[in-house]
Symmetry: C2
Subunit: 543 residues, 2 copies
């Protein structure tokens, strides 16, 4: 047996001990008390750790409303920060959603902002995210913190530079206070790894919290954060947004700075690029984030941004929305069909929205190429990272078949690019010919599924392949009436049938969130967010 | 000896006859009369083909001023179109600058626009390029016209679709009337090919018209067009702009729609992408073009655009300009040094511009990689195209060594990408640390050189590699005082010395234009154009 400089188990044990030490004793909950519960959403307010003001701050506002309160001086930045640190600590103890905890640094910065504010009352006016605690997926670098991405070989190597976005968010006035869990390889639908373990879904702990930005999903669902940032190369913002019943925006590539995010791909891998975006409890918070970022000089922070500015576009008063009921390879499960129907019917009742049924072409071929784009040189680089500390692949890496992807050649790579250029033309034409403002469709063929069963990203990956922005809007939750139906309803062959069988009815899936995604034109993120806010206002009666 | 379906010579002969037939008899000049002259700039107004109004229309305005006259109804669109068709015909007979001639279609469209205008006087208000004749590099597809790019194998295959930009320009009100010459392979500094032959430089016919957009360069220098469109992957807009003493803008990749431009690269080749941009007799015409394009919905025309809108940015009143005197591998020739000094001194006299001397890092390594990016799979695809009709490579293809580029692997390609990402960070830092708005530097180490001697693009290619926008501003012309100096002044070794020796003094180089290029931040095309217009107003006393 090979000898490792250090075995992953001891690295993980030490890392977990250190992480635990970052939670003040007074904030510890009796986790055993909640061991039997599957739905943990109420625990933060019932566990007795938060005082009345902290419950108020963390429970009753979205980031937009909270920002207003901070500007009005209702609460100091320190009060707000402490409240969210506490609630994040509770969320973590319930779901294992955090990787790096730096509450002390955050509270110290909050105090400084409060001091500055006393000396110059105008200083906050200029900073659109002033005083707002923002959580980040572990892959973003924050000075002094590890960026292990759950790989043992990267533990205890604190960053000496911020990711471009972390630097920008600080300049915009935000408070960074924690980073969140993700899958080994950052490629699966289960936020599980050998260093930090698995993040649980607070709606139903028997189900996955989703991935790869699953830590954010669980943290935000429990309101341990109101605004977090994920990345999405095949669905990694949208899948956990669906699983955890929150809003999420996959921005177009480069619109939100992405440089300095740890990416496990071979350096220089191009083709389909990961994109960053916000996850939140309201869609207007996603807008707050996107507007703040797109109004700033992102190009000074990151040499790889796409400089699409926020334009304060007029909101359209009449919308045409393409409706895609299924993607032609994976049949949506009964709750997903019900959720999409519900959203469609609500939109149809509006005089301002016209629904246009659509079919998406070439999904199977596109998804095959997307999977190859994920690892054009094969997956040896992952094995090499695992082998440094002897860690095994997590189960969900096997579920998606990642380690069996073989590399292609330069010619094969360009052939994929050429096919993608053709697909891009076809899809633009589909949008233009139908004069649609957006497409509405499922985020996946199913809700959150039991652990380690999330097998593909055919509903989400298409939009990464084409680089169209996409927004997840929660619609409902699985309830008593969502019965399983017969597998004969699976229309697309044996693999589809296997996936379809996963849904066994409301007993196992109780409270699993149901969502839709809304997709807009490439780089038209602002227009899409406007459209999605309009749709959300009808579906969920918000803003 | 191999038998070809058809030999390139017969294809070229037939194509040239057809082209010649597109010029009305009344517009033919006695070309022999000008066989001895090297400077042809005055011939269009002295040859007797243009009447007084046509001379006025084509000689005394830039496109911006002419557009105003058209809107005022001083001249009909037909009058303007006929005048430019005539003058383009003259320019072509002098320099062989045109490939496809479609004057009839253009004049027919002009009549239609005039008719529409009579019926609805407001129709022109909405179209920013209303009634303006615009010429296109041959590689842009125009319905009904060949897109041979000077390759015999592509002759007699008329396009059934417009390039995205051609479609957009028509929708913006422009008149398309001709396409222009370029080098075989679209990769050299000499616009020469086996189908159409060589374009001459109207300033000095002993020198190259530059490439690859050399036909536009010659045509615009002779005012056979006021506004043309080129493409630039290593300098192909800027080199002919320098050689022909005109303005040219290499936009950032994707800002000006580029889809449907014939690209001889293997389909799907990515890495360094070609960018389109305007060439004109004034910089404000380049702005007119860029503003019109960037204000339109380019993303509806082209699935590959980068949606950076025109923002009507405030023009900065104080500028910091980085001055790069040479690029560290090729020593500028005496006229280039004089031109840059002249521009620098003029700018320094302004209270509003601060000059910051700069050195550019890593040019040699960057240029090596750029050259590999031009043909990552090697150059067999060119040979294959040549072989279809038995045509040989043109001399300038040998000069640049294109056919000896060997392919790389997918891993090698990603390694190049990774080096480029690092270079991009370094260069952004150079710009930001020095707080510069732009860099000013030579366009090449030399002016236009004798035929088939243009050997590299080390001054221009850098900005394609990094995707920074760049503007060419003419500064002066070679005159009596521009003596050659000793080769000891060549600082960078034998290859530099060979290049340096090319400049033999004002006898051979008489009237060769001298220019500078001004480079701005990636995708900040609008801000760069503002900066360049300001610099131009000081250097050339224009707007």
């Amino acid at each position: 047996m090979r000898e490792y400089a250090k075995d992953y188990r001891s690295i993980a044990a030490e890392k977990q001990r250190q992480r635990q030490s970052k939670i003040p004793k007074d904030w510890l909950i009796d986790a055993q008390k909640y061991g039997e519960a599957t739905n943990l959403l109420q625990v933060p307010v019932t566990c007795g750790i938060l005082d009345g003001v902290e419950r108020e701050i963390t429970s009753n506002y979205d980031a937009t409303a909270l920002s207003e309160k901070i500007r009005q001086g209702v609460w100091s930045v320190e009060q707000v920060t402490v409240a969210f640190c506490k609630r994040a600590a509770i969320a973590h103890q319930l779901t294992n959603c955090l990787t790096e905890i730096f509450f002390d640094e955050a509270i110290e910065r909050a105090r400084q902002l409060d001091l500055e504010q006393r000396e110059d009352p105008n200083c906050k006016a200029l900073r659109p995210l002033y005083g707002l605690p923002i959580s980040l997926k572990d892959s973003f670098q924050v000075v002094g913190q590890d960026t292990s991405t759950g790989l043992a070989c990267f533990v205890k190597k604190p960053a000496d530079q911020n990711s471009a976005l972390a630097a920008l968010l600080l300049d915009l006035g935000a408070i960074l206070y924690c980073k969140t869990n993700l899958p080994q390889t950052i490629m699966t639908g289960d936020s599980d790894n050998n260093v930090f373990g698995r993040t649980l879904n607070p709606h139903n702990t028997a189900l996955t919290a989703g991935g790869s930005t699953g830590g954010e999903g669980a943290l935000i669902a429990l309101r341990g954060s109101l605004l977090g940032v994920g990345t999405d190369i095949a669905g990694s913002i949208r899948i956990p947004s669906l699983c955890n019943g929150i809003y999420g925006v996959r921005g177009s590539v480069g619109v939100v700075p992405h440089s300095g995010v740890r990416d496990l791909a071979v350096p220089g891998t191009d083709g389909v690029r990961s994109a960053a975006g916000p996850m939140a409890t309201s869609l207007r918070d996603c807008r707050l984030f996107m507007k703040a970022v797109m109004e700033s000089e992102t190009w000074r922070y990151d040499s790889a941004v796409v400089s699409v500015p926020w334009r304060n576009l007029q909101v359209k008063e009449k919308l045409r929305v393409g409706l895609v009921e299924d993607n032609g390879i994976h049949t949506p499960s009964p709750p997903i069909r019900r959720g999409l129907n519900k959203a469609t019917q609500l939109l149809q009742r509006s005089n301002d929205i016209e629904i246009v049924p659509l079919k998406l072409p070439s999904i199977k071929e596109i998804y095959q190429d997307l999977f190859q784009y994920m690892a054009p040189l094969g997956t040896e680089h992952y094995s090499e990272l695992f082998n440094r500390t002897g860690e095994p692949a997590i189960p969900s890496v096997d579920t998606i078949g990642l380690m069996s992807v073989e590399g292609t050649t330069l010619r094969g790579f360009f052939e994929m690019n050429a096919r993608r250029e053709e697909a891009a033309k076809k899809y633009l034409q589909l949008f233009c010919d139908n004069r649609i403002d957006a497409i509405m469709m499922p985020v996946a063929a199913h809700t959150a599924v039991p652990w380690d069963r999330w097998a593909n990203a055919t509903y989400t990956g298409l939009w990464n392949y084409l680089d169209y922005p996409a927004v997840v809007i929660p619609v409902d939750k699985v309830g008593e009436t969502d019965l399983a139906d017969d597998v004969v309803h699976a229309k697309y062959g044996p693999e589809d049938a296997n996936l379809y069988r996963l849904y066994t009815g409301p007993e196992l899936y109780r409270d699993a969130p149901i969502a839709v995604q809304v997709i807009g034109y490439r780089q038209m993120d602002e227009a899409l967010i406007n459209t999605a806010i309009f749709a959300d206002s009808i579906i969920n009666g918000k803003e």
